[in-house]
């Protein structure tokens, strides 16, 4: 059964018709072409598909697209500014080499964003807890921890996603 819904992603509204069974992950990747969000396990076991739903980190593979009509979704594509200036969390992942192959990175960055929004000055235990739902098979964890620490030091917790800033500025 196809449903017509509006998905608000990174500050933009998209009218899409999709089956009721389609996950937010497949809708983002297939219907909207936002392939920055990665499909890894498709079962809520790895965190690679993490996006922000109204500021909360969610596994988009366990979220149906039709549930999200009233939500504001932020994906990795919505974090940097249009001129390419990286969000401080992205910059920290880059500087600290908090990645290798990069396939888990979009999910890691958004998990870090949700964590720092909640706890701008996280303890080591906060970081471990906040990031433990995101697997990195390359084992870039030391760099990921440093990146979250650096982002926190640089005040990333008060830095909105570009798309969030745009949305609040306009609304």
């Amino acid at each position: 059964m196809a449903e017509e819904i509006q998905l608000r992603v990174n500050g933009q509204a998209h009218n899409v018709t999709l089956p009721a069974t389609r996950t937010l992950l497949d809708a983002l990747r297939g219907d909207l072409g936002l392939t920055g969000t990665k499909k890894v396990c498709d079962q809520g076991q790895c965190g690679a598909c993490t996006v922000l739903r109204d500021g909360m980190a969610v596994y988009s593979c366990l979220t149906l697209a039709i549930e999200c009509g009233d939500s504001e979704i932020t994906t990795i594509e919505g974090l940097a500014a249009p001129d390419g200036t990286l969000h401080p969390i992205q910059q920290a992942f880059l500087d600290c080499d908090g990645l290798q192959c990069g396939f888990c990175t979009p999910g890691q960055v958004l998990a870090a964003k949700a964590l720092l929004d909640r706890r701008p000055q996280p303890t080591a235990a906060d970081i471990t807890r906040g990031m433990a739902g995101n697997l990195c098979r390359c084992g870039a964890y030391p760099g990921i921890i440093r990146a979250v620490e650096q982002a926190a030091q640089r005040g990333a917790g008060t830095s909105p996603a570009h798309s969030q800033a745009g949305a609040s500025g306009g609304g």
């Binding site: 990665k38 890894v40 994906t75 992205q90 500087d95 990645l99 290798q100 192959c101 433990a132 964890y141």
Partner: protein
């Protein structure tokens, strides 16, 4: 003028002779004074793409008119396909094509042992049909609607059972791989083992085992393929674009010109993506029958069933030593189940052969076919497993003799290759030991732990955490070699691209090659783009065997060097100066000693219009000496005697792999190796159900990858002394070395903590508690 020379090349623990075509002269050893970028911690040149989600991986490719494919798979470890009914699947709206053994060409696969769709199915997950449909949900649903009837056949998944003469046969030619003379297994002998054990004062004998470690790269294997007339373009999640091209061209009867393989980004590989997999061929066949591009990525379950794994190992080891710790003899019997179509046995005996001066040795290695998906290379295949038994046995000998584990390793230190008595190009392992022990606080901790155990009374069944330390050594190739080719092109605006068919797996290859090119050109890195991952570029080897930096790096340096020389030769015509009196400084071409006599590169290029300066480079032959990488790791663990939980608290790693090009990504490689090695040591292992022959944990929930919460403190350093005998960069690979000693060091630390050894990895709570109970009985 080209010349042909012969040279030795090592890959994944195996050495072979290779013919190299040489043109021109390779540059001389690169002195530190010439370097501005090489050796500096450098942020990844493709890092922005990776942190913004704009990096396009194979699974992200979306081509116009593209269909999605799904594969139907056999649920049994061994079965004969009786019949297939695809009618319900065909009737599903949106289904565009279904391929089975009935309508697909019988293209051979796994050598000649099988074909693209076979009717004898030899492992869970073996392919029976494939569907192409308008969207992924329809493709998956259709694949599930294909009805298959099987004759379920007897199977064997236990390698020791499979070796018996009356065992179920996986293939008609027997389950055990044969050597060149037709004997089962591979045998390695040196000296006289009986004599060696006769001279021993102490002997240790034990049976170690390691589990099947699944790669579980986060991007599964898969391809997106499209035909354009006679030409097939394949986007593939691979670490070996040229291997994929060769294989697909051969399977489809195409000339190499008609197959192009592209891999810009890959979401992890770790050795499992070194060749073409069947799904790539299936995708090409579906694309041909539908006339549309095909997107075929494995799901996570299939990834765990058919996309390779580190073969499990069973290792019987016997080691003899004199009272002073001198090793006299070693015997090993190694059994590795390699899956239904495995074609080689991992080099589990490698560390024993090469690490220490053991004069008398006998090693037998059996690769055994069983009814599971095939194994594949996994980051230092064989050496990781082999180090567990060797380094464990050494600790047991040291304990019998009351020696420090570090002392017994130094006592048997091999200054030359103990098998061949040939020299190494470089070896600073003794310095790795010294620095590692110092940074880790090895001697002090050993003393403290011994004193604490004496005070608390050894063997007391308390509930306090048990603390232990252990260490292990590492050797591996990583010297690389030919063939590797590269081009360096200076465009008319002064921008530079380096073109090479290598692959960046997330290891940092693009960045390292950009650093090398920038230094060879005497230009800033901002001018240089490195273009990899495309078979339209010059040949580079697969990205594996820790060989990329040492193979491709010298070729890129030479290409960039050639381009710079041409630029200076061209400039000389306009500056009225001999080229050897010119140099590049701050983006300008300057007459030596006369800074005022200069010309901007842009002005020189303007003079020659659209002419592109193209420098060519290649990787020259290896020296006759043996090229190895070295390292030592030290581990501290705590073990909870109540729950059996092992916590790796701290790891120190010290490496000798020649010159370090990029300390930032080099460190990341070591971190990654240690984390993966920790997985093998304490949590990771495929679980097969003996009563059904099926995998019980083909997912990321029950297969336990290390998480950020499991991370130990990791301290990393390196020697960094360039190895110019190995190649003119002085650099060797770091991809695999860091995983090799980790499980061994952790297992040794657990044995130290418990006072009794757990011989089977992963060291699960159950195994810890069993060992403790046995120890206390």
């Amino acid at each position: 003028m080209v010349r042909v020379v012969r040279t030795k090349v090592e890959i994944e623990g195996r050495t072979h002779e290779e013919v190299v075509v040489v043109e021109g002269e390779e540059p001389a050893a690169w002195a530190a004074g010439e370097l501005h970028h090489v050796g500096q911690a450098t942020v990844r040149v493709d890092g922005v793409e990776r942190v913004t989600g704009s990096a396009r991986y194979t699974s992200d490719m979306q081509l116009p008119g593209m269909l999605y494919a799904a594969v139907a798979r056999c649920p049994h470890p061994h079965a004969r396909l009786r019949s297939l009914d695809t009618r319900a699947a065909e009737a599903l709206p949106g289904v565009r094509a279904i391929l089975t053994h009935e309508n697909a060409p019988p293209i051979p696969w796994h050598g000649k042992a099988s074909r693209v769709f076979d009717t004898e199915l030899r492992h869970e997950g073996d392919e029976i049909a494939a569907v192409a449909a308008d969207d992924p949900e329809t493709a998956e649903r259709a694949a599930r609607l294909i009805r298959a009837e099987y004759e379920v056949l007897p199977y064997v998944i236990d390698a020791e059972v499979a070796m018996r003469p009356d065992a179920v046969q996986v293939h008609p030619d027997g389950n055990v791989l044969k050597d060149e003379d037709g004997n089962e297994g591979e045998t390695y002998t040196r000296g006289d083992v009986a004599k060696g054990f006769g001279a021993a004062d102490v002997v240790f004998e034990g049976r170690f085992s390691t589990a099947a470690q699944m790669h579980n790269a986060l991007e599964t294997h898969g391809s997106v393929v499209a035909w354009d007339g006679p030409t097939l373009t394949i986007y593939d999640s691979t670490q070996a674009i040229f291997n994929v091209r060769n294989r697909l061209a051969q399977s489809l009867g195409l000339p190499l010109t008609d197959v192009r393989v592209i891999k810009n980004y890959v979401g992890g590989a770790f050795g499992a993506k070194l060749g073409a997999y069947k799904q790539t061929l299936i995708a090409a066949l579906l694309a041909r029958s539908t006339g549309r591009p095909i997107h075929l990525m494995l799901d996570r379950r299939a990834e765990n069933l058919v996309a390779g794994h580190r073969a499990p190992s069973i290792q019987h080891i016997k080691v003899g030593a004199r009272k002073d710790g001198t090793l006299t003899a070693l015997e090993m019997r190694i059994i590795c189940p390699i899956g239904a179509f495995g074609m080689w046995a991992p080099s589990v005996g490698g560390p024993a052969k090469e690490m220490y001066t053991i004069p008398n040795m006998h090693i037998q290695t059996f690769g055994v076919r069983v009814h599971t998906g095939s194994h594949s290379a996994f980051r230092a295949p064989g050496y990781v497993e082999g180090a567990v038994a060797l380094e464990g046995a050494l600790d047991e000998i040291a304990a019998q003799l009351g020696l420090d584990p570090l002392a017994i390793r130094l006592k048997n230190y091999a200054a030359k290759d103990p098998g061949s008595d040939q020299a190494f190009t470089a070896k600073h392992l003794d310095e790795c030991y010294r620095r590692g022990a110092e940074r880790f606080g090895w001697a002090g901790l050993r003393k403290d732990l011994t004193a604490a155990r004496k005070a608390s009374g050894a063997g007391s069944a308390g509930t306090a955490l048990l603390r232990g330390i252990g260490m292990a050594s590492q050797n591996w190739g990583g010297g690389g070699g030919p063939t590797a080719q590269a081009l360096c092109r200076i465009n008319s605006d002064g921008s530079v691209d380096v073109q090479c068919g290598s692959q960046d797996l997330g290891t940092g290859t693009r960045t390292v090659l950009a650093q090398i090119a920038a230094d060879a050109l005497h230009l800033g890195m901002d001018r240089v783009r490195v273009l990899l991952g495309d078979t339209d570029k010059p040949y580079a080897p697969l990205s594996g065997g820790s060989m990329t930096v040492a193979s491709v790096g010298p070729a890129v340096r030479m290409a960039a060097d050639e381009a710079r020389k041409q630029l200076l030769e061209i400039a000389s015509a306009f500056m009225d100066t001999a080229p050897d009196r010119l140099e590049i400084r701050d983006g300008r071409i300057v007459r030596q000693g006369q800074a005022d006599r200069s010309m901007s590169i842009a002005d020189v290029l303007k003079e020659i219009g659209d002419y592109q300066i193209i420098g060519k480079g290649f990787r020259g032959p290896n020296p006759p000496e043996i090229i190895r990488t070295w390292g030592a790791q030290f581990a501290e663990v705590t073990v909870d005697p109540v729950t059996g939980h092992v916590q790796v608290v701290r790891m120190t790693g010290v490496y000798d792999t020649g010159r370090v090009i990029n300390p930032l990504t080099y460190t990341s490689q070591i971190h990654g190796g240690i984390v993966q090695g920790m997985g093998l040591a304490v949590t990771e292992g495929r679980t097969l159900d003996p009563t059904s022959g099926k995998s019980l944990n083909a997912n990321l929930e029950e297969y336990k990858l290390p998480t950020i919460a499991d991370l130990p403190q990791i301290d990393v350093t390196w020697i960094g002394e360039p190895d110019f005998q190995a190649n003119h960069l002085g650099a060797k690979g770091i991809g695999e070395p860091p995983i090799i000693p980790t499980p061994a060091a952790i297992a040794n630390a657990v044995a130290d903590a418990l006072g009794v050894r757990v011989f089977d990895l992963p060291i699960t709570p159950e195994r810890v508690l069993t060992a403790l109970a046995g120890g206390m009985a």
